[in-house]
């Protein structure tokens, strides 16, 4: 009781203490608000950054697909029968005739194999497993929370 009286007395003797207290409370509120804004801005920036990166990745994927197609076409051009024939002629080879060939049996040899590898299948997007709370914005979260408070509680039937 004595301490309480002392504090009241102290504030009465120096009113600037009240102003300082109010200022401190305002500053605390301000810091909290700044923190909330900082979190919101940070989340928004990261989301935006991720969105932009996603757009870039999509365009990069398309670019790489075009690049792969072009490279395959270039390889095919370089190994086309016309180009190979030029190399063959340049190296002095000639087509073999049946008389040039010696046939031998090689156990386990299954003959010439095709050189085509099927491309990997398109990735199937799995269903999102992230809870909604991690994907919604702070304002959405607050708004939905407020809405939940106004909802009537479910009545459980006996």
């Amino acid at each position: 009781m004595a301490i309480k009286n002392h504090l009241i007395q102290a504030y009465k003797q120096a009113p600037w203490r009240t102003a300082t207290q109010n200022g401190a409370l305002f500053m605390i509120g301000l810091v909290i608000a700044a923190c909330v804004i900082w979190i919101m801005v940070t989340v928004s920036v990261k989301t935006t950054d991720a969105g932009l990166e996603l757009n870039w990745l999509v365009s990069e994927k398309l670019r790489l697909n075009r690049e792969i197609a072009s490279k395959n076409a270039q390889i095919a051009d370089a190994t086309s029968s016309e180009q190979m024939q030029k190399r063959i002629d340049g190296m002095g080879f000639r087509p073999a005739t049946p008389a040039d060939i010696t046939y031998i049996v090689i156990d386990g040899f299954t003959g010439r194999q095709p050189k085509i590898s099927a491309p990997p299948p398109q990735s199937v997007q799995p269903p999102l497993l992230i809870k909604q709370i991690y994907t919604q914005s702070l304002s959405d979260w607050l708004w939905q929370g407020a809405l939940k408070l106004t909802e009537k509680p479910e009545v459980k039937l006996p």
Binding site: W16, A19, G23, S44, T47, T48, D49, A50, G51, L52, L54, N55, V58, R63, N65, R66, E67, A69, S70, N72, A73, I75, A76, D77, T79, S80, S81, E82, P95, A96, T97, P98, I101, Y103, V105, G111, R112, P114, K115, I116, A118, P119, P120, P121, Q122, S123, V124, Q125
Partner: protein, 598 residues
């Protein structure tokens, strides 16, 4: 002192309040500005863009994985008329790098095709290397301009060149690395038609939707906060064909050289595996470079089919005798040793039928009938079979029906049957040796392949497998009929092998057993068979005991000689001599030796 402290608080508070009021005022100004709805609408319009994604067109490979049709990156060069600063520089660079018309480019940029058009296309399908060259110049000019701006040496009258406003849109176009090789099989894709592009002829047309995939329309969010993964767009399926690039090249070379030597108007060589129906090569003349398919009209005129091996119907002549003899064997009315007295003429329906040399060949066996290609003998067999059985056999061999080969543009000429307005009794006789009946080369080959393949007729096909969704699915061979028994087929095969040996045919291949038959068919005119021009052909297969190939050679209107035996038979031999090397088929004696040691 205390009052001063309060004043400071008041000043800080006032400033913060003023700042807040300024922000609030600005917000109110923006919200109540008359242009606000316009700005909001503009923003909303830019948030979502509707895109139609066209899948990458599938590739086409030969059976070993050599790319026959693929895609290549090119660029479309556009000018944003609101951005361009230096039309002359753009036109000049494009003229020097890609050879565009300077005057045309200036006209396009100066007078856009319509009002409110602020985006014009300057060049399409610019190769990637050239586009990159222009991009480099664009960067270089921009860097130079930046230097000049900051330089003290800047002069007012010295305007640096600028390619600002020139934009590059990448895209894929169809490319055919082998140019004209197998052009008649592949067909082409009309990529310059943009959204209306489609496959024409051959595999490109027949499997157009499979190769093209399914376009997908989707909304793209430009708001980074709303961005979502675009839908996964599966590329079109890739096709692996049954053709072998090396065999195809060999067949085309042989065909082209032969055409020069024998002066034929056209020709075709088809090589098929009779056991599976897989086409290994289908060489046709003429062909076009598929990378310049727009020259199609210059090469193909007068309704000439793109692929004559499947699209041209003609009277086959004596190669057809194989089918008549097969029917006679299978019906049991003759065997190889059955004797026939050839008098040089037989009357069918009151019309005389003669041999090709108008001679009487006297006593012959069935072997002699085929060896000397006697029309009278074969017509007599057809008469003995009777029209019902004879045409039933032809029907079972697929004559008069499409083979349903998986290529666009297959032709067919319906067979005239008893009861039809254009069928006369004499047709029974003439049809037996391939006159008065029209087939395509692929029909003829498919029918006779049943004889080579122990009586089993396989569907001719080009599709070996489909690569889609990361898997390669093979398409199994399909049996489409057994027109004759195995015994009849094998007996006829051996007889035709003997026939070639006895006549010392130019089709014989040292070391390999081959069976076959020549064909020389007069080409009818409106007045009948009065011209000297012929269709010369040869069909043969081997090795006879274990057939790995059947080859059909056809020349239209050869000028060096009219006979199939002199024009087509040597070509068959040349093809087979090269084919056995490419297919690793040892000579018969070595093959049989290997078979015994295993």
């Amino acid at each position: 002192m205390k009052n001063q402290s309060f004043i400071r608080y008041w000043i800080v508070g006032f400033l913060m309040l003023a700042f807040s009021l300024l922000i609030l005022g600005r917000v109110i100004y923006i919200q109540t500005n008359p242009k606000a709805p316009e700005i909001i609408k503009g923003g909303e319009e830019g948030v979502i863009t509707i895109h139609i994604a066209y899948p990458e067109r599938g590739n086409i490979y030969d059976r070993w994985g050599a790319l026959l049709a693929g895609n290549m990156e090119v660029y479309e060069l556009n000018a944003d008329l609101n951005k361009i600063k230096d039309k002359e520089a753009i036109a000049s660079v494009l003229a020097s790098v890609i050879g565009a018309d300077y005057g045309h480019l200036m006209a396009v940029m100066s007078t856009p095709p319509a009002k409110n058009v602020d985006y014009v296309t300057l060049a399409r399908f610019v190769p990637k290397a050239k586009a990159e060259q222009i991009m480099e110049l664009q960067k270089q000019y921009a860097a130079d301009a930046a230097k000049r701006t900051s330089s003290l040496l800047k002069k007012n009258d010295d305007k640096p060149p600028s390619l600002f406003g020139l934009e590059f849109s990448p895209m894929l176009i169809r490319t055919y690395p082998e140019k004209s090789l197998a052009a008649n099989i592949i067909g082409f894709y009309s990529y310059p038609e943009g959204l209306n592009a489609q496959g024409y002829f051959g595999v490109e047309a027949n499997y157009d939707s499979l190769l093209g995939g399914r376009p997908v329309a989707y909304q793209q969010q430009n708001d980074p906060l709303q961005v979502k993964f675009p839908p996964q767009i599966a590329p079109g399926a890739s096709l692996v064909l049954t053709i072998d690039r090396d065999i195809q090249k060999m067949a085309e070379e042989v065909l082209d050289n032969s055409l020069k030597e024998n002066g034929s108007k056209g020709g075709t060589i088809i090589i098929m595996d009779p056991k599976t129906g897989e086409i290994m090569a289908m060489a046709v003349h003429p062909r076009i470079d598929l990378n310049q398919y727009w020259d199609y009209g210059k090469v193909y005129s007068d309704d000439m089919p793109f692929n004559r091996a499947i699209g041209t119907t003609y009277e086959p002549g004596s190669v057809f005798k194989v089918l008549t003899m097969a029917a006679a064997f299978d019906a049991g009315i003759v065997n190889p040793d059955t004797e026939f007295l050839d008098t040089g003429t037989v009357y069918v329906g009151g019309i005389p039928i003669h041999n090709w040399d108008r001679r009487a060949w006297g006593q012959q066996t069935m072997l002699g009938c085929m060896q000397h290609s006697l029309n009278v003998c074969l017509a007599s067999l057809a008469v003995e079979l009777g029209p019902t059985r004879f045409y039933e056999y032809l029907n079972n061999f697929g004559i008069g029906h499409l083979t349903r080969i998986d290529l666009a543009g297959e032709g067919n000429y319906p067979m005239h049957l008893p009861g039809d307005p254009f069928w006369y009794e004499v047709n029974l006789g003439t049809n037996s040796f391939g006159q008065g009946i029209a087939v395509t080369p692929i029909q003829m080959l498919t029918a006779i392949s049943a004889v080579a393949n122990h009586g089993n007729m396989m569907a001719p096909r080009l599709l070996h497998s489909v690569i889609q969704d990361g898997e390669e699915r093979a398409y199994p061979p399909q049996l489409i009929g057994r027109p004759i028994s195995q015994e009849s087929a094998d007996t006829l095969s051996k007889m035709l092998e003997a026939s070639l040996s006895l006549e010392s045919s130019k089709a014989l291949v040292p070391g390999y057993s081959v069976a076959g038959k020549t064909g020389t068919a007069e080409i009818p005119t409106p007045k009948g068979y009065t011209s000297d021009v012929t269709n010369a052909s040869f069909v043969g297969w081997g090795p006879v005991d274990d057939p790995r190939f059947i080859v059909y050679v056809w020349f239209e209107k050869p000028t060096s000689d009219i006979w199939g035996s002199t024009v087509a038979s040597p070509v068959f031999k040349e093809v087979v001599e090269k084919l056995v090397v490419l297919l690793d088929i040892p000579p018969d004696n070595i093959r049989q030796e290997f078979a015994q040691t295993r």
